[in-house]
């Protein structure tokens, strides 16, 4: 057994231990903290699996937006002291454990029995990279070869946002989705919120830009930009835009809309692939960012 294998086993053990702790711990808030840390550690596994694009997505989402969303919800739900939910009976627990173990065992067997020569589309992706001029294969797949998925994903984000907005109280409808945050103007938080966003914007745009040739891309960069926006909101430096502002809505629809226009244009001009447009950054930022913010209403 090599040193690297020992390290891999250790990493897997740490991640799994954290997962078990997250599932087993009594306090919901602790479980949420455990899950956020779990998400960040999973990014390490992705790096080890040589899937840095995914690692970036995982880190950007669970470290920024997702973590804040879950922790905020956990704090609000916990403070009301409703924890009297009754657990299922012993028989149910035992059968659930049996079912889970069976599933895990079946998946383990499947992993060990993976065929040696797996069918893969990787050579095809590499062979057609000339069509886009980009050298990051993952970005090629996302933006060109499977652009349909990405477009529908943006639609899903939009639907989630509409769903979150629709859940707002009637009195709040059409207004700002959450209360304005306030913080001590001379406090540490405001200091950080003034210092970090400029740096974060540079990093976010860099991650987006480098996505053409190296791991990175619009989602990861967009998530970072949205996190920076969220930081400014949490420090009370800026406010969430009102839901009924026409410009915001147009901007949100522009994401999938742009995809549709580019796709239809490709069809019209007889080109085989959707082109990659840098204009996607802003809609991606908004689409990734706004559901989260409004969920905190």
């Amino acid at each position: 057994m090599s040193v690297a294998t020992i390290f891999e086993i250790a990493l897997a053990a740490v991640v799994l231990g954290l997962g078990i702790w997250t599932t087993a711990v009594r306090d919901t808030y602790s479980a949420t903290v455990g899950f956020v840390v779990y998400g960040l550690l999973v990014a390490l596994i992705w790096v080890r699996l040589d899937a840095v694009d995914v690692a970036l997505t995982e880190a950007a989402i669970s470290g920024g937006l997702g973590g804040v969303l879950l922790l905020g919800a956990a704090a609000r739900v916990r403070d009301a002291g409703f924890m009297a939910a009754e657990a299922p009976g012993k028989a149910a627990r035992v059968s659930a454990a049996a079912l889970s173990m069976l599933t895990a065992a079946a998946l383990t067997v499947a992993v060990f029995l993976l065929p040696d020569s797996a069918s893969t589309l990787a050579p095809a992706v590499v062979a057609h990279a000339w069509a886009t001029g980009l050298t990051n294969p993952v970005t090629n797949v996302l933006m060109a070869f499977r652009a349909m998925d990405t477009m529908l994903e943006k639609v899903v984000l939009l639907l989630a946002l509409v769903g979150v907005w629709s859940l707002a109280r009637d009195s709040a409808w059409g207004g700002r989705p959450g209360p304005r945050h306030q913080a001590d103007p001379n406090g540490v938080l405001v200091f950080l919120a003034r210092l970090l966003p400029p740096i974060g914007m540079v990093v976010g745009i860099y991650i987006f830009w480098t996505g053409a040739d190296h791991p990175g891309g619009a989602f990861q960069g967009g998530a970072i930009l949205a996190s920076m926006w969220l930081l400014a909101i949490m420090a009370g430096l800026t406010d969430t835009p009102p839901v009924n502002r026409r410009r915001l809505r147009l901007l949100l629809v522009a994401g999938p809309g742009l995809f549709l226009v580019v796709g239809l244009g490709g069809l019209w001009f007889g080109a085989a692939f959707l082109a990659y447009s840098p204009a996607l950054a802003k809609p991606a930022l908004l689409l990734a960012g706004t559901p989260e913010r409004s969920a905190q209403q």
């Binding site: 040193v3 690297a4 020992i6 390290f7 250790a10 740490v14 954290l18 702790w21 808030y29 602790s30 903290v33 455990g34 840390v37 960040l40 550690l41 990014a43 390490l44 790096v47 040589d50 840095v52 690692a55 970036l56 880190a59 950007a60 470290g63 920024g64 973590g67 804040v68 922790l71 905020g72 919800a73 956990a74 704090a75 609000r76 403070d79 009301a80 209360p179 945050h181 306030q182 913080a183 001590d184 406090g187 938080l189 950080l192 970090l196 740096i199 974060g200 990093v203 991650i207 480098t210 190296h214 791991p215 990861q220 970072i224 996190s227 969220l230 930081l231 949490m234 905190q296 209403q297």
Partner: protein, 96 residues
């Protein structure tokens, strides 16, 4: 060289795991929130070494993202579930 580096990664990972055990066990949530900060230091160090060992240069970008967002979980903890807390008059230190 690579063997030394991966041994160092393993060591730092072990320290990370021990730290996590100590922090997550901790008496209250203030201790538990430090776990996110632990990822912000030991986790990033692991990631950087891992990138060098596995010849994955882009791991540095992941580390950059983690470092940038390292404060977020703690801020969410400090701000807590704002709306309900402020209504109860139990806002945190940073809230006026």
């Amino acid at each position: 060289m690579n063997d030394f580096l991966i041994a160092a990664v393993g060591f730092i990972l072990a320290m990370l795991a021990l730290g996590l055990v100590s922090i997550l066990r901790g008496p209250d949530n203030t201790d538990r929130m430090m776990a996110a900060q632990l990822i912000g230091t030991a986790g990033i160090a692991t990631l950087l070494l891992l990138g060098t060992v596995g010849a994955v240069p882009a791991a540095v970008d992941v580390a950059l993202t983690l470092a940038l967002l390292a404060t977020f979980a703690s801020i969410a903890f400090v701000k807590k579930g704002l709306a309900s807390l402020e209504a109860d008059g139990a806002g945190s230190a940073e809230d006026k």
